[in-house]
């Protein structure tokens, strides 16, 4: 029996808002990368504008967290949950910014830039998105093991980054890649690598929320 039905409902609604924000961010990464690979500047422009939705989500969740802190004065697991959400939305917002960064590169690209396809970039974006999805899943299901798995997955994304760097470096040496495109491609890979780092942060806050211990403790 609990006497905090309304509070519990508010926390559930807050979790749902976080998941929605996460979904939005994942979609934005996907579309931004597509705009880059397809050299589709129209799609890129749309994605740049969509970042506003992510920023609004962050603002709304932040406001709701502050309202709950003010009214409910949460402690223990509730305090950890709200603290974690406040930290996680910052990471999601940064991920959203990196999606925009990728879309902006598409806009900067000249039509004359010749695309150079690297399979690893697809693997890298799939893994980065998986990391975000699984971090959010571990949050919803209170799954400590899954959150720990996400932390480990960062190595795969890092390996992809180094593999792409090697492929691009070889292509430069062999003059198989457009110089500008090589720079853009490496920047995209770096943004994806940073997205992986933020997904790790998400998982670390999930671990804190569940176990009360942050990795940096």
């Amino acid at each position: 029996m609990t006497y905090r039905t309304r509070f519990d409902q508010e926390l559930e609604a807050l979790k749902l808002s976080l998941i929605r924000m996460g979904d939005l961010v994942i979609k934005n990464i996907h579309a931004s990368l597509k705009s880059f690979l397809d050299m589709n500047s129209e799609l890129a422009e749309i994605q740049i504008k969509k970042d506003q939705e992510v920023n609004e989500s962050e603002y709304k969740i932040e406001k709701e967290c502050m309202r709950i802190i003010l009214r409910e004065q949460p402690v223990a697991k509730d305090l950890r949950l709200i603290t974690s959400i406040l930290k996680m939305i910052t990471d999601l917002e940064r991920i959203g910014d990196h999606a925009v960064d990728i879309a902006k590169l598409t806009v900067f690209m000249e039509k004359s830039n010749k695309a150079f396809f690297v399979d690893e970039i697809h693997h890298m974006v799939d893994k980065s998105e998986d990391m975000i999805k699984l971090a959010l899943e571990s949050f919803v299901n209170h799954d400590l093991d899954l959150a720990n798995q996400v932390v480990q997955m960062d190595d795969i994304v890092d390996q992809d980054f180094y593999a792409i760097r090697q492929i691009v470096a070889d292509a430069i040496r062999n003059r198989k890649i457009d110089a500008d495109y090589a720079i853009y491609l490496m920047m995209v890979a770096k943004y994806l690598e940073r997205i992986g780092d933020h997904a790790v942060n998400l998982a670390e806050w999930v671990i804190f929320s569940i176990a009360g211990k942050h990795v940096s403790d």
Binding site: Y3, F7, A76, L79, R80, G212
Partner: protein
């Protein structure tokens, strides 16, 4: 330097056949505020009263176990209870000044102990009222009745009265539950100052108060000490599910 003031071991208390405290083990440290929390009837006030043997005044009480105060069990025969109560002062939920002047309220204890010199009493009254952060508000009206003071002032007077006996420990049983928020904050600030010199054990129903002012928090439930730990840990990451359920309000 913090040191152990009370060492409570396997303390059991019965009101008739009803067991109100079950095998309590706890240490009370000097220069610390220890908060006792838990639902009504969980035994926290009963435990508090064990520390200066206030339960002696209740009929049909049986106490088993040890309450060691500086290497001596306060429940051993021939233990000097009067001396214990001077060293372990108490402040109650409702301010209870004596029906006399502000000055006489403070001087009452020292006088009972035989102190008669006016100068010495004046000094005790002034220093006690200063320590209780009340001196500036009453220094010009020491001959007024204590009942002329506001509730918050009366409570600080009661704290000053306890301090006048030069105690080592101050027990407080919900000392702010009858006070408004400003008077409450004054008492809380005072408690923070007082721990420089005393060990303080406080019973409170306000979780926020326990989180604000205490160093250690002990959670009682149905006569058992469920968990005692650093206050920061209790309110951020309690180890026991029962503690978590209680402090997060999911208790039934």
């Amino acid at each position: 330097m913090k040191e152990k003031v009370f060492n409570i071991r396997n303390l059991n208390l019965f009101y008739g056949d009803n067991q109100a405290l079950k095998a309590i083990d706890m240490d009370i440290m000097s220069h610390e505020v220890t908060a006792l929390i838990g639902p009504s009837g969980c035994g926290k006030s009963t435990f508090l009263r064990c520390l200066n043997r206030m339960n002696d005044l209740i009929d049909d009480v049986t106490i088993k176990g040890e309450v060691i105060y500086h290497d001596k069990d306060v429940y051993k025969k021939n233990f000097d209870v009067i001396n214990l109560r001077t060293k372990v002062g108490m402040v109650f939920q409702k301010p209870n000044p004596f029906p006399m002047t502000i000055y006489d309220n403070i001087a009452y204890g020292p006088r009972c102990q035989g102190l008669k010199k006016k100068k010495a009493l004046d000094e005790i009254v002034e220093s006690s009222l200063k320590k209780a952060a009340l001196w500036d508000e009453v220094k010009d009206r020491l001959k007024d009745s204590a009942f002329d003071l506001s509730g918050g002032q009366q409570q600080r007077l009661c704290i000053a009265r306890a301090i006048a006996m030069e105690p080592e420990v101050i027990l407080m049983d919900e000392p702010t539950s009858a006070l408004d928020p400003i008077a409450t904050l004054k008492i809380e600030e005072l408690i923070n100052d007082l721990k420089e010199n005393y060990a303080i054990v406080i019973v409170t129903h306000s979780m926020q108060q326990a989180a604000r002012i205490s160093d250690q928090t002990a959670f009682f439930l149905l006569g058992e000490l469920i968990e005692q730990n650093d206050t920061d840990i209790i309110f951020s990451n309690p180890k026991n599910k029962k503690t978590e359920n209680y402090i997060t309000g999911r208790f039934g």
